[in-house]
Structure formats: structure tokens, C-alpha cells
Amino acid sequence: MSSSIIKKTSTATGFIKAIESGSKHLLMKRFTLRFPEQKLKFVGDGYQFDPKRGVGIAGSRGRHILFHEKCTGCQLCAITCEGIAEAIEMVKVNEKWKQNKKSIMPQIDYGKCVFCGLCVDACPFYALYMTNDFELSSFTKEHLIYTPAQLAVKPKYDGTVEVKIDERGASHR
């Protein structure tokens, strides 16, 4: 094991090398992602969890999606969230499902949610997943609260841009 020593160059060489290295970038591609026009492509359809194996499936952790036909109203997601963000509240719904006797389903406040995805890990009935949708901003606080009906909608996300690397540098294309 030996300590590292950086070679000392003369002042003129140092400046010339710095300018040379910087001016090369005039010919290189811009790395910036132009966000509203370009959108990043994500791996998969969002974070999911397999309770049988006890392992998640890799994906982006954005807005949730709730499958009404699977939700039993067991409140495990809300109990998990209690100690984390207190974003999930169980609310009454007007639907009648065989598996959901109490007719309660989670309602998520995205003003509080931290997108940790532990509610998805807690769900034993494959009812709550996450999606690629991350554009949730709104003008009022009330619009950030998503009801069970809103959570059932599958979002449309059409990101196509990826980081590509070639001899002219890295860029979003």
C-alpha cells in the first residue's frame, strides 16, 4: 500500500490542459434532459410486490394503483403508513365487493406520501402497486388527495428518452 502522489505540472501546462479539456466539450452533445418535451423511460410498469415470495419487482415508485376487485379493506397499508407518513386513510366506498365486507378502501394524500413503497410490501392480496406516473403537482392541496376511484385509473406515461453513450459523450435521446 502506498500513498498517492499527484504529479506537479508547471502553471502554463496546467492552464493549457484545462482549457484544452474544456474546449473539447464544444463539439460534444448536450447532456441536459429537456423535461416537458422529453420524458425518461422507466424500467417496467412500476414497483410491485409478490407477497408469496416476499420480494419486490423492480420498477419506478410513482403514484399508486389500486385494484378494487382485490382489495379486502384489511387496512394493513394504512397501519404501515401510520408510522411513516400518515398519508393513507381508509374511506367508505359505494361499491359492493364480495371480499370487501366493510366497503373500505385506501385514500392516499400525496401531499404527505414519501413514495417509500412500504404499503405495497404490506399488501398481502396483490391489490396495491405503484406506477410510473410522477407528475402529480396541482394548484390546491385538496387535489393531491386521491380517492379510491382515482387510484384505480391506470395512468398513461409515454417516456421514451434514455441516456445513450457514444464517442461524442453521453446525452438523453
Binding site: 500500500m1 500513498s3 498517492s4 502522489i5 499527484i6 505540472t9 502553471t11 496546467g14 492552464f15 490542459k17 484545462a18 484544452e20 479539456s21 474544456g22 473539447k24 447532456f31 441536459t32 434532459l33 425518461l40 422507466f42 424500467v43 417496467g44 412500476g46 414497483y47 415470495r53 416476499g54 420480494v55 419486490g56 419487482i57 423492480a58 420498477g59 419506478s60 415508485r61 394493513l76 404501515t80 408510522g83 411513516i84 407518513a85 414519501v114 413514495f115 417509500c116 413503497g117 412500504l118 410490501d121 404490506a122 405503484m130 441516456v163 453513450i165 453521453a170
Partner: protein, 391 residues
């Protein structure tokens, strides 16, 4: 500290006498000017320190951490072992995988579980990638702190590569909540390995350019070389850690000294320098980034092709009665957790010891006796993250 103060002052007075200037030997209080740096200074982060200057020389420094104290340790006592993960990564969101890494290790010891081999590799990879993200962010701030705008743009842009990898792996760009007692939350996605190797190859090319434009730049070297000398013995006495300790000539790295998970199978060198100045403290993290690329490549090669990544736990696991202490190497040095359990599902006491807080103890030692203009290069080279230090 008083001895050093008067000694350094003496030598400065000698210096000014040689210039033929009139000198007042005793620095009286009204001769000094008090300056407050922070807590909302754009560069210092949420951290305040008070300095007193005599002309251009700093004669007194009083760091005052605590502006963003959130009581993380107390919060841990009211949540179970799994629920603690998202809030524990808040102190240092740029290095969130490493701050939950040692927590997971400690809790695993309390629960008496062993992580599957593939899970150990995946979290080591995530830890290495996240260390790159943190170091690049730190380097960007260091660059703009010294007035080098290009060095702000380049690392911020290249950081995006690693964020991209981590987003594909964990699902979130910054706060990953990926490590969990018992392993990692999910397996690696398809095509991750190839993407990771491609990005690392490109990044290593970029590191050469960093050296040309920043580290070999005469302007940068003049501002950092022979500035803020922290001798070897002082570094040991003050108890600094991480890159600051390694810049003072001590090859100490938790990954080498106390290998955790799979690090004993990885072949890597501990990078250190003997010059003990600000330049060494800025250059050692850079060398670490290069070494980290090497480590990631080895981890990807040696990772088992398939297997479990996580132990299936009950939703509210209970730890045995006892205590656990584990530490990992984070971007800012040793990061350790000491957890006491009383047998319930919540920890009885959690103590977090972070590198930032230990490094900031060296700040008064380095600043007193130096020039005011050297303050930025000394302060940010300490690799200090105020929010993490306050916890």
C-alpha cells in the same frame, strides 16, 4: 486549543513585523471583528459558525451545529424496525443507501438472520453507486465554492448517470428506501449489469477530464495546497474519519479494516495521501471514486447469477434482548449504529454516529491561524454534511 491560537498568532505577528508594519502584540477584543457564517449561507449548508478575525487572520472559531436537528434517534423509538427505514435516510438523502445499510446490519444481528448471498452483493452495489452520487454532489459544491462553475456543472451532470442506475434498481431517484433488515427490497432489473458496466466505463474517462480541468488546474492548487494542514497525530487525536483521516496519511477504511457483507472478497486499495492539506482532502474522495468504479465492476462479476435477495420476515419482527453495533464506510467516513433492544418490536434506543459530526470537530483546529480567504477551501474539504451531523 488556546496554545495553538497564541502560537499561530505569534508567528503571524512575526510575519507582519518582517514586512515592516506596525504591530500590536496583544490582540485586544476591540481589535477583533466578529463574523457569523450561516446558517443560511448558500455554501455552508444549514450550519452556523462564528469566527473572529484580526485583520485577515482568523483567531477564533466556534462551530454551532444543531440548526436542522430533527430528533432522528428519538423518532426511532416510536416506530418498528421496518417503519424506521424511510425517516432514517432523511438526514443525508444523497447517500441514503449507506445510512440505512449499517442500520440494516445492526437490526439483522438483533433479529438473528442472515442475508442471502445475492442480496449482499446487490446492496453492496447500491452502496457503491450511492457513494459516487454523494461524492459527485460534494465535488460540485466544492467547485462552485471556489468559483469554478464548470466543476459545478460536470459532476452534477455525471451524477445523473448513477442516479439513473439507482432509479432503475430501486425505483426512486434520491430517497431509495432499498436496504431493509433481511436484504434488499427487490432483485436487479433486466439489463442492469450491462448498463452499469457501460456507464462506469464512460465515467472513468470523465474522471481523467476532471483531473485536467480541476485538480491539475493551477488556480485550484494554489487555493488548496499547504492550506489547513491537519497533521497525522492531530487527526488521530481529534477523531476525524473518512477522507479527512485518509488525507492525513492514515489508510483507514471500514471496508478494509472491518469488512462487512462481501467486501472481504473484493480486491481494492485504500487510497490515502501524506500531504495533510486541503488539496489532499479534496483529492482523496476523487481517488475513492476511481476505486469505487473498480469495486463495482468486481461486485457485478462475482455476483451469483440467481438466488434469493431477501429473507422473508413477518411484518412486525421482534428483536432479541440485547444490543448491536455495526458500522459501514459512507461517503463521509465511518457511519455506525448502536441499537439496544428490549425484546419488543421497537428499538429501545438508537444511537447514530456519523462521519460529518466527527469531521467538523477539526474545523476550529484548522481555521484558527489561517486566512479568511482560505475558509471556503478548508470548510468544504472537511466533507461535512450539516443535516447528517445534526441528525
Amino acid at each position: 486549543m488556546t496554545n495553538k491560537y497564541s502560537e499561530s498568532l505569534d508567528s503571524k505577528f512575526k510575519e507582519t513585523t518582517n514586512l515592516g508594519l506596525e504591530v500590536v502584540k496583544e490582540a485586544s477584543e476591540d481589535r477583533l471583528m466578529k463574523l457569523s457564517v450561516g446558517p443560511q449561507h448558500p455554501g455552508s449548508g444549514h450550519f452556523r459558525f462564528t469566527i473572529k478575525v484580526d485583520g485577515d487572520y482568523i483567531v477564533y472559531c466556534d462551530p454551532d451545529p444543531g440548526y436542522v436537528h430533527r430528533g432522528e434517534e428519538k423518532m426511532c423509538e416510536y416506530r418498528n424496525y421496518i417503519q424506521n427505514i424511510p425517516h432514517l435516510e432523511r438526514p443525508v438523502i444523497h447517500d441514503s443507501t449507506n445510512i440505512t445499510y449499517s442500520y440494516s446490519l445492526a437490526v439483522e444481528e438483533l433479529l438473528g438472520i442472515e442475508v442471502p448471498r445475492r442480496g449482499q452483493f446487490i446492496r453492496a452495489i447500491a452502496s457503491e453507486l450511492n457513494r459516487q452520487v454523494y461524492t459527485l454532489y460534494w465535488l460540485a459544491i466544492y467547485g462552485i465554492f471556489l468559483g469554478h462553475s464548470t466543476m459545478f456543472m460536470w459532476p452534477t451532470g455525471d451524477r445523473e448517470l448513477f442516479i439513473d442506475l439507482l432509479a432503475a434498481l430501486t425505483g426512486a431517484r434520491v430517497t431509495h428506501a432499498f436496504n431493509i433488515p433481511g436484504g434488499v427490497r427487490n432483485d436487479i432489473p433486466e439489463g442492469f449489469k450491462e448498463k452499469c458496466l457501460e456507464y462506469i466505463k464512460y465515467f472513468e474517462k470523465r474522471l481523467k477530464e476532471y483531473e485536467d480541468i480541476f485538480y491539475n488546474n493551477p488556480l485550484f492548487r494554489q487555493r488548496t495546497e499547504n492550506v489547513g494542514i491537519l497533521p497525522k497525530q492531530d487527526a488521530i487525536d481529534l477523531g476525524v474519519t473518512g477522507s479527512v483521516l485518509r488525507a492525513s496519511g492514515i489508510p483507514h477504511d471500514v471496508r478494509k479494516v472491518e469488512p462487512y457483507d462481501v467486501y472481504n472478497e473484493i480486491d481494492f486499495k485504500v487510497q490515502y495521501m501524506k500531504t495533510c492539506d486541503s488539496f489532499a482532502r479534496a483529492y482523496v474522495p476523487f481517488l475513492d471514486m476511481r476505486e469505487s468504479c473498480n469495486i463495482t465492476r468486481q461486485l457485478l462479476e462475482k455476483m451469483p447469477e440467481s438466488g434469493e435477495v431477501r429473507v422473508k420476515l413477518q411484518s412486525n419482527p421482534k428483536g432479541r434482548i440485547g444490543e448491536a453495533y455495526k458500522r459501514v464506510e459512507s461517503g463521509r467516513g465511518a457511519l455506525s449504529y448502536y441499537i439496544v433492544s428490549d425484546g419488543s418490536s421497537k428499538p429501545y434506543r438508537v444511537k447514530i454516529s456519523v462521519g460529518s459530526f466527527r469531521n467538523i470537530l477539526a474545523l476550529p483546529h484548522l481555521l484558527v491561524g489561517s486566512r479568511l480567504g482560505d475558509m471556503p477551501s478548508i470548510y468544504w474539504a472537511l466533507n461535512y454534511w450539516p443535516v447528517e451531523a445534526d441528525r
